[in-house]
């Protein structure tokens, strides 16, 4: 009866469907390759060089660390919005402990890492024991961390008196490659193994896939979720520490922006290779896309403000890709 009035849709042919699936799984990688090719052709003298490669990877290392950490709460089906604020607090605190309290740098680093784990633990307990929605819980703890941050610093940077030994964390090391890159590679490797080759990782994936089935299989869902938040807190703290070492001062808001970058990277990554599942390798590819995009635009001398357009758009596109991938997985 109503048929005549409906627009005639083209049926989805198998070929077209295959293309959609391919783009879903490999689209991000294709995008990455195209971007590299484009920038290389546009600026052959600057972009495709060893120095620029090291430069880009070094730049994205901190984002990579915080983003693979964030991948854990995302993989158990939760969110962590506190990581940017946690990184900022870790950054000023590690500087303060060394400069104001005269704590030796390894002890300061260890203490701040412990604080990161504690932040994750608190997040995890609020979410699993008190049943607070993860978005709200981590937004709340994140805001409280901002309060601690200002209480400690009064809003001003801790800029002078950082021990040189501390800055070895981000200095150039073997082959002239910055140590940050080695640390990042180590963290990514460890978390990849954690998620893919340990019983905890299998549990994380099961909890993210179906928490009810996981619980009825004897997996301690609350514990697994809490551990995911602890990992995320640790990575956020480490990112804050490395940031302070890199810029040479502890600044109150320096880490805040990592949240969006990490989120964009993780969601881009979830649409990569797997159907909407969060995984470490995907997140790393997501980080590279975001990083290389910015690096290329810099080299092309595109004005800074347009990078915000790119960043915002990327976040939305990433989440869209991820949900398309998930929908295809269901069909």
């Amino acid at each position: 009866m109503i048929l005549g009035m409906l627009p005639h849709h083209q049926p989805t042919t198998p070929a077209r469907r295959r293309l959609v699936v391919f783009l879903g799984q490999y689209g991000t990688i294709v995008g990455l390759v195209l971007m590299v090719v484009f920038f290389s052709l546009a600026r052959p003298a600057i972009f495709p060089t060893w120095n620029n490669l090291i430069n880009v990877v070094n730049q994205v290392s901190l984002t990579a660390i915080i983003a693979v950490g964030l991948t854990m709460p995302l993989a158990v089906g939760e969110f962590d919005l506190s990581i940017g604020y946690a990184a900022s607090l870790a950054g000023v605190l590690v500087a303060g402990l060394m400069v104001n309290q005269g704590v030796p740098w390894p002890a300061a680093v260890a203490a701040v890492l412990a604080l990161g784990a504690l932040i994750g633990l608190v997040n995890g307990l609020f979410i699993t024991k008190a049943g607070v929605n993860a978005l709200i819980a981590t937004l709340g703890t994140g805001t409280i961390l901002v309060g601690f941050n200002y209480a400690y610093t009064g809003g001003s940077a801790i800029a002078f008196g950082l021990p040189d030994a501390f800055r070895v964390l981000t200095a150039r090391g073997v082959l002239g490659i910055p140590n940050t890159i080695f640390i990042m590679a180590g963290i990514v490797t460890v978390l990849w193994i954690l998620l893919n080759r340990t019983d905890l990782g299998q549990s994380i994936q099961a909890v993210g896939g179906n928490p009810v089935a996981a619980a009825l299989s004897g997996i301690r869902v609350e514990r697994v979720k809490t551990i995911a938040f602890v990992v995320s807190g640790l990575c956020a703290a480490l990112t804050g520490i490395l940031l302070t070492a890199r810029i040479g001062s502890g600044e109150s808001t320096a880490g805040d922006g990592f949240l969006l970058d990490a989120m964009a990277a993780a969601f881009l990554g979830s649409a990569t290779l797997r159907d909407g599942e969060f995984h470490v390798l995907g997140t790393l590819i997501g980080v590279l896309i975001v990083g290389i995009g910015f690096n290329g635009l810099n080299i092309l001398n595109v004005p800074t403000f347009s990078q915000f357009f790119l960043k915002g758009a990327m976040l939305i596109v990433a989440v869209a890709l991820s949900s398309i991938a998930r929908r295809h997985a269901k069909a």
């Binding site: 109503i2 849709h9 019983d199 905890l200 994936q205 099961a206 009825l216 004897g218 301690r220």
Partner: protein, 537 residues
């Protein structure tokens, strides 16, 4: 769709059969009608799997058309295609003789095709009324929904289906039978010309099934076509005017009321490959008790339950849906806390603080809902099978590193033992057929040292072939010493499978049956034997 809001008037329906016409007259009138829906040469493939290979199928107005077949035979694919959830690769769908392309589920509804899935896609918190008119353009008054008009418009449907409960009740508080009425009512207010029902009786009691049949027959008398998908062949034979059997994505046979028999259906479904009737169970049970349960209580569902399962024994737990059987299973498995009572395993009293404790002690549960409770659908067969005992796959006991290769090789053994049909153990579980998914849920407990295995509706929605295989596996498992507790609402299941059956009524054990005394009639009689003394306050 806009139009007059007189829901349920079925103005688009062809002339109904004359009221009061006898069954035979009605059937003849049906046979004479042109098909409402016709499917020709429908094909559909998923990846390398050809789910439909040229299916021909038609439904006439006013007939109840049974659709049966083993899991993976293509029933679900056919239904999903008609519902507009997925597009066919080839073939034609005709409505009233003219070809249509069903674009999406909303379009299917506009064409008069309605689909009621086993899970009843309702909004639990919404009232019966709101669910009844879900997705419909509502009459408004000054921009607000005019509930008076809505109630007036649905009144004929409510009366026709004999809904006696308040329409303001949230559906989560209604019984499954009442929710089915709402689902059918929902189809009627959308002016359904065809209603497809997927396993409608899976969770209904015998009495409720009777009522549902009455309603289905009435719908057919009013000219509505009904596609009735079920594994319960007795019901198909009783209810359906015609029955189509699918096998391997093709039409295997079709019957009408005059020539359908259970044997013929089973032969067509199974293709003669599989043993269909289960021989009397070999009683391997010894006298050694494995699981002892004393005075279990968790109100309101479980009042006072005591029983013992012995080594190698298959104990059945029968009774009506809602008699407290699932709740007993959850208590023994540590998923809920006991209010009172004791549980012992191999003679030692145990106190479970959670499911993890139960699993560690060797108690396994195959839950009622395999997709939502039993499986991580997007993960592989191997990952699902390993889930309850991940730590066993550690390369070194102290380190959390696991060997995926060992996980897969053990999964292959279990898959072989249970005859799980999957391309490989790295296949995604969500892509397997229902029967094979159920085997994976059972297989999860075969990897460890399972002392007690509790199965809640182990073969619900599973085809006859897979069902026989599951029963055989359970018997093998019992003969290796595991104590097995089976909960089933399927009257045919417990008699063939169990050494002993307990029947629960209102949270307590009403009686026990052994060996040859385990019959459908006996279980049914006990199910209605309400205990003396009334309910505990």
């Amino acid at each position: 769709m806009t139009g007059s809001p007189a829901y349920g008037s079925n103005s688009a329906m062809p002339e109904s059969a004359p009221a009061g016409a006898g069954m035979d007259v009605g059937a003849r009138a049906v046979a004479a009608r042109a098909p409402l829906l016709e499917v020709r040469g429908l094909t559909k493939a998923f990846g390398g799997v050809q789910a439909l290979r040229g299916v021909d199928f038609d439904v006439r107005p006013g007939e109840v058309h049974g659709l049966v077949g083993a899991n993976g035979a293509g029933k679900s694919t056919l239904i999903r295609t008609l519902a507009g959830v997925q597009r066919p690769d080839g073939g034609t769908i005709l409505i009233d003789g003219s070809p249509v392309e069903i674009l999406d589920p909303q379009h299917a509804t506009r064409l008069g095709l309605n689909f009621i899935h086993q899970e009843l896609n309702q909004v639990p918190k919404f009232s019966a009324l709101e669910n009844l008119i879900l997705g419909l353009d509502k009459p408004t008054r000054a921009g607000l929904i005019d509930w008076v008009a809505v109630r007036r418009d649905v009144a004929p449907v409510v009366e026709r289906l004999g809904m006696t409960f308040s329409l303001d009740t949230p559906v989560e508080q209604l019984s499954v039978a009442e929710r089915w009425l709402i689902a059918i009512g929902h189809a009627l207010v959308h002016r359904a010309r065809l209603i497809a029902m997927d396993e409608p009786t899976a969770s209904l009691s015998a009495e409720e099934v009777g009522r549902l049949f009455g309603i289905v027959r009435e719908l057919a008398r009013d000219g509505i076509a009904v596609i009735y998908v079920s594994h319960r062949l007795d019901e198909i034979i009783e209810l359906c005017d015609r029955t189509t059997v699918l096998k391997d994505g093709q039409l295997a046979a079709s019957f009408d009321r005059s020539n359908v028999t259970k044997e013929a259906l089973i032969t067509a479904i199974a293709g003669g490959e599989i043993e269909t009737t289960v021989a009397g169970s070999a009683s391997a049970a010894s006298a050694r008790p494995v699981l002892e349960v004393r005075s279990l209580r968790r109100l309101p569902a479980v009042r006072d339950v005591s029983f013992t399962v012995h080594e190698g024994e298959i104990l059945g737990l029968g009774g009506l849906v809602g008699s407290g059987r699932t709740e007993v299973a959850r208590l023994v498995f540590g998923a809920d806390r006991l209010e009172a009572g004791e549980v012992s395993l191999d003679g030692r009293p145990i106190r479970l603080r959670g499911v993890a404790d139960a699993v560690r002690l060797g108690i396994g549960l195959v839950p009622e809902e395999r997709r939502s409770q039993g499986l991580v659908l997007r993960q592989t067969v191997a990952a699902n099978l390993a889930l309850p005992h991940l730590a066993r796959f550690r390369i070194v006991p102290r380190l959390p590193l696991i060997s995926l290769a060992r996980m897969r090789s053990e999964a292959r053994q279990i898959a072989q033992r249970l005859q799980i049909k999957a391309p490989s153990v790295t296949a995604i579980v969500g892509e397997l057929s229902g029967g094979n998914q159920q085997k994976v849920v059972i297989g999860k407990w075969l990897g460890g040292q399972v002392r007690v295995l509790i199965l809640d509706e182990p073969t619900r929605g599973v085809d006859v072939g897979a069902r026989a295989e599951i029963h055989r596996s359970l018997r093998e498992l019992a003969s290796s010493g595991t104590a097995i507790l089976v909960i089933s609402s399927d009257e045919e299941e417990l008699p063939g499978l169990c050494d002993r059956v307990l029947v629960m009524v209102e949270g307590a054990i009403a009686g026990e049956l052994r060996g040859p005394k385990i019959t459908r009639q006996a279980i049914r009689r006990l199910s209605y034997a309400h205990t003396q003394g009334g309910l505990v306050a």
